[in-house]
Symmetry: D2
């Protein structure tokens, strides 16, 4: 991925397991951080989407490949981009790299559906002009940044 967006964090003790590495499920927590920050970088606050518009973006599938383990106190760079920004479904792609040497640790994707508070799927179209514009922006960013 060559996109400009990245978020830096440091591995917490609580994220390790007795193998001495980051527990494999914790990378999904980091994907969520990367996703939130990517969305924020496009001028949209995911918290407000939930609170004000009653929109949720639950995860419907994930895939991860673990290349190298992250360890306690490592500084980590999270990279995220939009792979697909449809009216119904969103796919984000991620890379997690060790900051010190840019070593690829984990890569993966998460698929999402837009749903409302009653957990019914929602279609984002021109009737929600602000979100529609946001999606188009995400899609465009994905095209530019991806490949």
């Amino acid at each position: 991925m060559t996109q400009p967006y990245a978020h830096i964090l440091r591995v917490r003790y609580s994220e390790t397991d007795q193998m001495g590495i980051v527990y494999h499920a914790r990378y999904l927590d980091w994907f969520e951080v990367a996703r939130t920050e990517l969305i924020r970088s496009h001028g949209v606050n995911y918290r407000k989407l939930e609170e004000d518009q009653g929109l949720l973006l639950p995860v419907v599938d994930v895939a991860l490949k673990y290349r190298q383990p992250a360890r306690y106190d490592d500084e980590i760079a999270l990279y995220a981009r939009v792979q697909e920004a449809g009216a119904v479904r969103l796919i984000f792609a991620y890379e997690i790299r060790r900051l010190a040497d840019d070593l690829l640790l984990v890569e993966g994707t998460t698929g999402h559906l837009w749903v409302n508070r009653d957990w019914k799927p929602i279609r984002i179209d021109r009737s929600s002009p602000e979100l529609y514009r946001f999606l188009q922006q995400l899609e465009q960013a994905g095209k530019v940044e991806g490949s």
Copy 2:
């Protein structure tokens, strides 16, 4: 504690840290399990309290003493009792023991307030006869089981 109530669980890999022991914050998750099961043993479903009555029981303080570490795959006995069951405030006391040899690992307390969905403190009195009875039952159980 000599009370009859106990719940058994087995330590998960995800609960360990790189020290090779259970991460110290995880015991609070187990206290919550013990509390839920203790409440259930008195015929009250905490989930329904939240869903049907809009009552929440947030934690307002905790204290823990760590005696010995729990390790992956250990079978653990959680003991819980009610230390104080007031109309406004509840205190639970816990012991976490290794099942194999009854070794005391962790002990502690959690204090709670009854609040409503708007996070306003609630007083449980005779106007909620069912809950009031539940509290009296908890208080009585604490007296019998404690000491």
Copy 3:
């Protein structure tokens, strides 16, 4: 899956998120529980593999599909089987169902490599007769139980 092996657990409060459902990363913790118990059901203690033989079985990839959300206090049935039991690589497949009505909530797979304490890949062959037999047993079980 029609295999006999299953493990039951109850959803903890700490496993929920503000969407009111189990946070999507937590299912990987449960996959780990299911895997440990499946291995135990074949007479092998994973903890002892690590401690006595210095063998680790880190996760190298995962895939999950989320069908329906699990909720606090739900009783959950974890089903696990071996999909592939090679000398170098193991793949486990999982289903997570709501106990009350057998509703499929989540399904997925995890891929693993055998490595030693120095994180070097290990081949399990006839030179480790006990483990070799275990793998053959797992593979056989997968064939019988799968499909």
Copy 4:
């Protein structure tokens, strides 16, 4: 607390529970982050203490008071100081505040013992001149920054 040391983080989705607030055990993860960063600010890398010197600093007791809940996406300021820096035992004190308005959310302490890899208590004295100096520095910082 009026000490200069603080670390900023943002609440993750994975740290919330179905009450819509940060799950109460997660503050202990943040205390650990604050502790690591406070130690680093005194020129000591806790990871290296573990790796190079075989020194561990397990938690032996904790106490927390929950004043106000933190919520998803809140920016949080973690304050930490050393309350007691003995040769055998260390106590850290913490405050967690909402960055936007400095509202106190949670305060607490954690007590620690120095132990070696075999889990035997260690006394830090002049025979370990570097660590001894570090402890004196921590103690001095506590005196200046505390009260």
